[in-house]
């Protein structure tokens, strides 16, 4: 092949034919150099595309998600009139309970009317439409407050209510007067009213703690939805993963690395582990559904089941990294221990394992971070499709009661039709990535600090 190409080249002609100077490039050299430059440019372009994509992704997440951490609040002075809330007049909690949330709605309307009168705001809106800029959860919030402290009845108290999702979107430029043309939930007049309230400072956008600590909410109330409960679900799953995957993974690695004889059984186990690491995550979800829920009758949607499934997924990661760090401990350590009379088991548990611990820890954290972001298997064991509204009150209920998890909650929001939930989903991603970045940083720091070169 080389001969064939050489036959076409100019300098394969008889000697002395080559003209020109070494100082000037001939056409062929120029062509080759250009090809060289082009090839290098392809590489630069490829890397730039990769970086650009990362940049676009990060920019997207931040620009769309930070809005979820801010929320619009409306400040109102509500007169908790006794004749509406306590007709009997004895402040008996059982009588107070009889007034439903509907009974509290008029209070809000009156509060708006008073506000309009006080500040001379000119508006054609009915008081019902004015109250429409509040979240539908406002009367319930009022009712819960009154039921918890009945003594406030009769007083006028300053409340901060969540504005409805549309109003919140208006302040965040997501909702415009054009986009609500066919929207039944809000009218341009209401937005004008919001502008007027904004001027006198009774509508305000500020940091929203509820998004981080709160629970999910129903489709109609995107403004009240939060990540808190699903974060607890993720926490309990990670506890299960840590409690099971770490000891089992370390035990398996110790056996494979230190004790296992070289035979076909060991080979099968090793091939098995490397293949398990590449099995699609959804297959683990099917396994969880078939074995843990259908066969063992563990409760649906429980973080315990999610944790078990994620344990099986994380095991290969932990085993692979643990084996690597066991392998990195030099044989002289083992020999020295054996030489002073330790048994094989003692040399491993008293000397090799402590030296390998930082590496094992790093691998475990990275495995946990992977498990934290995994979504697909959770869909199959039912951790989506419902509203995770109550934070668990004990460890047992945290493990066994239906809950969501961070990525499942994000998926849930992404599927809802109201764009206000998309903002929540991006915001949820910021929180999720925050956890992942923290975990990976800890892993990197651990590796840098404790890694030993022998």
């Amino acid at each position: 092949m080389t001969d064939a190409t050489n036959a076409d080249l100019p300098y394969s002609e008889p000697a002395g034919v080559k003209k020109g100077s070494l100082m000037t490039q001939d056409a062929r050299t120029r062509k080759r150099n250009a090809a060289e430059k082009r090839f290098k440019a392809y590489g630069v372009i490829a890397i730039s595309i990769g970086m650009l994509m990362l940049l676009v992704l990060v920019y997207n997440i931040i620009s769309r998600g930070t809005g979820a951490f801010q929320q619009t609040f409306v400040t109102l002075d509500v007169e908790l009139s006794a004749e509406r809330l306590d007709k009997v007049g004895n402040r008996d909690i059982n009588d107070l309970r009889k007034v439903s949330t509907f009974g509290y709605a008029p209070l809000l309307r009156e509060a708006f009317e008073a506000k309009v009168a006080e500040h001379g705001i000119e508006t054609d809106l009915s008081s019902k439409d004015m109250a429409g800029i509040l979240s539908p959860s406002a009367p319930a919030l009022l009712r819960n407050y009154v039921l918890s402290t009945p003594s406030v009845i009769g007083e006028t108290i300053k409340f901060e209510f969540l504005a409805s999702g549309r109003v919140d979107g208006y302040l965040k430029d997501r909702v415009t007067r054009d986009s609500i043309a066919e929207d039944k939930n809000i009218s341009p007049a209401q937005l004008d009213f919001v502008d007027q309230l904004l001027e006198v400072g009774f509508v305000e956008k500020r940091f929203n703690m509820n998004f981080i600590t709160g629970a999910d909410s129903s489709d109609a109330r995107p403004e009240a939805a939060g990540m808190g409960v699903s974060m607890l679900g993720s926490l309990f799953m990670m506890l299960v993963v840590l409690a099971l995957a770490l000891p089992i993974g370390v035990a398996a690695s110790i056996y494979l690395e230190e004790f296992a004889p070289k035979n076909w059984i060991t080979d099968i186990i090793e091939v098995n582990i490397s293949n398990l690491a590449a099995v699609p995550s959804i297959v683990f979800g099917i396994l969880g559904l078939a074995v843990f829920i259908n066969y063992m009758h563990l409760p649906n949607s429980a973080p315990l089941v999610g944790g078990l499934v994620l344990t099986l997924m994380t095991l290969p990661t932990i085993i692979i990294s643990t084996r690597a760090s066991l392998k990195a401990v030099p044989p002289s350590i083992r020999d020295a221990a054996l030489g002073v009379g330790a048994s094989k088991m003692q040399s491993v548990f008293h000397h090799v394992l402590p030296l390998a611990a930082p590496g094992i820890l790093t691998g475990t954290i990275i495995g946990l971070a992977q498990a934290l972001g995994e979504t697909a298997p959770l869909l199959l064991i039912g951790m989506v499709g419902f509203i995770a509204s109550n934070p668990p009150d004990s460890i047992a209920s945290g493990l066994l009661d239906p809950n969501s998890a961070m990525p499942a909650q994000i998926y849930e929001w992404a599927k809802r039709s109201d764009p206000a939930f998309y903002e929540r989903a991006w915001g949820g991603i910021i929180i999720l990535l925050g956890f992942l970045i923290t975990m990976n940083t800890i892993a990197v720091i651990l590796r840098r600090r404790f890694e030993r070169r022998w």
């Binding site: 490829a46 990769g50 699609p280 095991l315 085993i319 992404a414």
Partner: protein
Amino acid sequence: MALGVTGYVILAVLALTVVAFIAAKARAKSAAGGDVRLLHSLPNYYGYNAAMFTAVPALGVLVIWLMAQPMLIENAIFDRLPDHLIEDGFSRNLMMSDVRRVAEGLDVAVSAGAMTEERADRIRTEFSDVRSILGSVGVALGSDVRPEVLSAAQQYRKSSAIGMGWMTGVVLILAALGAFVSVFVSGADFRARNVVERFVLSMLIVAASLAILTTVGIVLSMLFESLNFFRMHPWTDFFFGGQWAPNFRGNSDLSILPLLWGTLYISIVALMVAIPIGLFAAIYLSEYAGPKVRAFAKPLLEILAGIPTIVYGLFALLTVGPFLVSIFGRGEAGLLGVDWMSGATAVLTAGLVMGIMLIPFVSSLSDDIINAVPQAMRDGSLGLGSTKSETIRQVVLPAALPGIVGAVLLAASRAIGETMIVVLGAGAIAKFSLNPLEAMTTITTRIVSQLTGDTDFASPETLVAFALGLTLFVLTLGLNVLALYIVRRYREQYE
């Protein structure tokens, strides 16, 4: 009552374990007359040995008992249920879960004080409204309790109580026996360390075999349900039919071919994005980039692999999809003034985003492989006067080709098994089409949609998900094994 019988039994066994540990250690020490050097093993090993013999058999029996007892009782009760109940269209599982619910309800009622123990055993649907009594303590039953179910539930409770009694006895006796024997043998000549170490070793082996157990579990769980599926649905339709149209009233067309087409099409688009970018990035990083650029660019690229797939899914659905629509869709208002794309979900949407996700897979694997090509080969080529790019194209890449093929196969297996990106970005329409701007669906998407929500494990529309899962498993496993084989063979070549 908060702990339940099982909790108290476990606590008792643990207490006994601690006692055995202390007793055995003390006995060994006293057998040596206070001089620890006369013992065969360190004193703690005698303690561990005793603790092990006390706890392990007792807790093992406890676990097995707890798993076996409900099954045995259910079988016994099921045999006694009148046949007409089951023929009424009640499946066995539904029936038994009814019985379990009522039995649990009775337990709750007794512990909440709504009923006495005696009344729970004798209550009859003919005389009192069991459903409302249970409802009053917070146990909601779907329908009225049938007399047969109630009596079966009472039978269930009675048998469970007897079983629990026996279990408590057996477990405690076993623990006491273990403690007694192990403390008794703890003399100076007893080789406690060897026994303990043998036990630890067997635990290590059990942990290592869990990997195999998982694989077996995956295969068996999917195989059984798949067999159930093929009993209800002709396998010829599944493998060779041309339609995917599940219909929950029955008589559905469930063929994998349109799904497989969607899966492969999206994967091909993804690989067409990932292979050139990933490969050129790897070549640049390993051949051209200086150590500083490398230390900066490589980890940044690898961040793309660490981002959870749900993030990419959202990116596809809410960013890339609408962006593509603004180019290819919307008619006059769009960038190209055409109306080829109707919705954000499409093959191209999912494929592009999946391609981005796969870039680091291709690049870091190829990077490793290119680095493994011996330097002597490059030096030889450069010494003959070829430029760097000529060396790479004609020497390095051919030498690394098998490894790169392996890397691409691994990326392909990732693409086929990827779920979240396609669930959010690819759409739900199963069809054979070559248009990348149309929505299509994949195997993983259909698994998710058939198995979420209310599922009935007796209908082929649900069970087909297991057959799909098995196919997916076999497909990705095949690709992985092939890839690992190629990579491994290639590595040996240069070592």
